[in-house]
Symmetry: C2
Subunit: 358 residues, 2 copies
């Protein structure tokens, strides 16, 4: 992909009249996250609390484990017992800045509460009933106390999802060399990394889709990542995908045995195989890569794009030399900050609410 | 309760004009069950198939175990992992003839499909998603073949519930002495049992509520069974009850720590503590008794009614002598037939549906 194909972002300024300036897409420093501290603190407990799943056997942290880059380290996520999921578990880092959620772009990035609700209530993920969740949390005195720090009512199922979301908003990359570099510290990247950045913006054209603070345009693209064969050969994964298609209303879904991506949402055959551009921050911690975990290393990712992606891709071959590929990988590594580790808090126990004290 | 208080059933006959005859309530022989054989056969597999629960860990038979009188032998049912239920698991025997389902009479006896749906999908029981269930079953070739024996479409979530219901309809008491006796075989009950039957219909007045083929009027009554203390002392049971009340819309439910029975459905405070009259068939296999398993033996049950029930009961003391109590228990035992045992079938395995063969 050539620089001339880069997506352009228009800025309008009214200083001294109306001036419109087109600038090439680029990466940008991570903004300061905004979140309610008391909500995020309760959300931290809930994020690790297995009682938010139907069988009280897994929590948000099971598939978004801080020790594994807020993902699970697997090509395809496991999901709820007796299910096996059909896509890769994405990192939660910097989710508050995402424009879309889910690999097929199903949810708006502004609606974190719905994202959390889906993850907690979906049969394949945490399989929880929202009303049961509410009653479980009400019977933990410490949770009632935390709730009252930011609201003056009883713990309410729908709002619990926003509380978890507020914690997620608080989980962000820190101290990534790229942020220091973008803010003017030339020494934050070494020579190879700086060369990689030039390739990223220039010859390799990565920045066309990987731009902004997350290194993601938040749009859907077809890069032709090969199907993960486990999705068709393992019944539990195949069942999960079929159930997802049945739910999304994909026409004739029982004839569909590959991952159609955004088509399941838009129902437009032109969107078959399109997936949301992921963030490229903290890649060091989030292998394997792509929506189905088919690429194990950043070297494989760069090789994949060098060939112009897979079958049906929107891309063109890059014809990079070996040293260019190495520079690009070195640059991608500079997008990782310090590990963001949050430990599981000691979870408070259930206690029956006493009569007359409610 | 005196015979004069007995509920009377009016029969209208048009033979030779319009004549209305009032007759005292009585037991009646069990009718022949009606069901679709092919549906019931598929339902037999599904009844035992753990894949109908969210985590594939329990089946209908877990709480309605043929080896335990189609119940579970526990005072309070366990329910789904990380839940503990707050009522007794009733036997499924003869459910096709019930006028109401659930201890609080929540469901109409004519609607077996909804009963099965609730049990399979409720968070406390099998916590299953109907769409996931459908996809799981579709990926079992043997189930597709069974389905095509009675329908010409794909396995459909909502209809699966009726299939399980059809099996339940096929599960009925057999060869109970009371049926032979009611059909004219005087020798089917011994002298003590016949004396017990007279007390049942007369001095003890049991027949007021325990009449018809099931020994149940299908109505709701307050007998004052004491609360099971586990419901308020064990958080998981208390949570389950609170969630149930939240779902049913019981006003101010967080102030309600006892089992209000039908009030949670009708919302009428006059219905507090009313529960559906259970069948008295096959009592031999279904201990412990009452909606919360608080009475362990039939002797305890007879003693309970002899005292006029518990606090707030609609009943009056019976003042039975010891030999009368023994006769009544002997009679109640004659209401049990041969054990109805159905073994778990060998369940067919998942197989991914192949492309182009759907």
């Amino acid at each position: 992909m050539k620089p001339r194909n880069l997506k352009r972002i228009a800025f309008a300024t009214s200083l001294g009249g109306l001036v419109t300036v087109s600038v090439a897409a680029d990466l940008a420093p991570l903004p300061q996250p905004k979140f309610n501290t008391a909500m995020a603190e309760m959300g931290r407990f809930l994020f690790f609390d297995e009682r938010l799943s139907g069988d009280a056997g897994l929590s948000c942290a099971t598939c978004h484990n801080p020790q594994k880059g807020w993902s699970d380290g697997l090509p395809l996520s496991k999901g709820y017992p007796a299910s096996e999921y059909f896509r890769n578990s994405p990192t939660l880092l910097n989710s508050g800045f995402k424009k879309r959620f889910m690999w097929d772009g199903r949810l708006d990035g502004a609606d974190m509460g719905t994202l959390v609700r889906d993850m907690i209530t979906e049969a394949h993920t945490m399989n929880m009933d929202g009303r049961l969740m509410q009653e479980r949390l009400k019977q933990v005195p410490e949770y009632n106390a935390m709730w009252l720090k930011f609201r003056k009512d009883d713990i309410n199922g729908m709002r619990v999802f926003n509380v978890v979301g507020e914690f997620v908003r608080s989980v962000n990359s820190k101290n990534a060399p790229i942020d220091r570099f973008l803010k003017g510290d030339q020494g934050a990247l070494n020579g190879t990394q700086r060369a990689g950045y030039e390739l990223f913006k220039g010859k390799a054209g990565c920045v066309a889709c990987h731009n902004g603070p997350l290194g993601s345009d938040g749009n859907l693209h077809r890069t032709g990542v090969p199907e993960n064969p486990a999705v068709t050969s393992e019944p539990l994964r195949h069942i999960t995908m079929a159930r997802y298609y049945a739910t999304s209303g994909l026409p004739n879904y029982m004839m569909t045995h590959d991952d159609v991506g955004f088509q399941a949402i838009s129902k437009n055959p032109k969107d078959r195989g399109k997936f949301a551009t992921p963030s490229i921050r903290d890649l060091k911690y989030t292998a394997p890569y792509m929506h189905n975990g088919m690429l194990k290393t950043l070297d494989e990712v760069v090789d994949f794009y060098d060939k112009g992606g897979g079958s049906g891709a929107e891309l063109k071959p890059l014809n990079l030399g070996d040293s260019e590929k190495r520079a690009l990988v070195a640059f991608l590594e500079s997008l990782s900050g310090d590990p963001v580790v949050v430990d599981k808090p000691k979870l408070p126990a259930y206690k029956v609410r006493a009569f007359g004290k409610n």
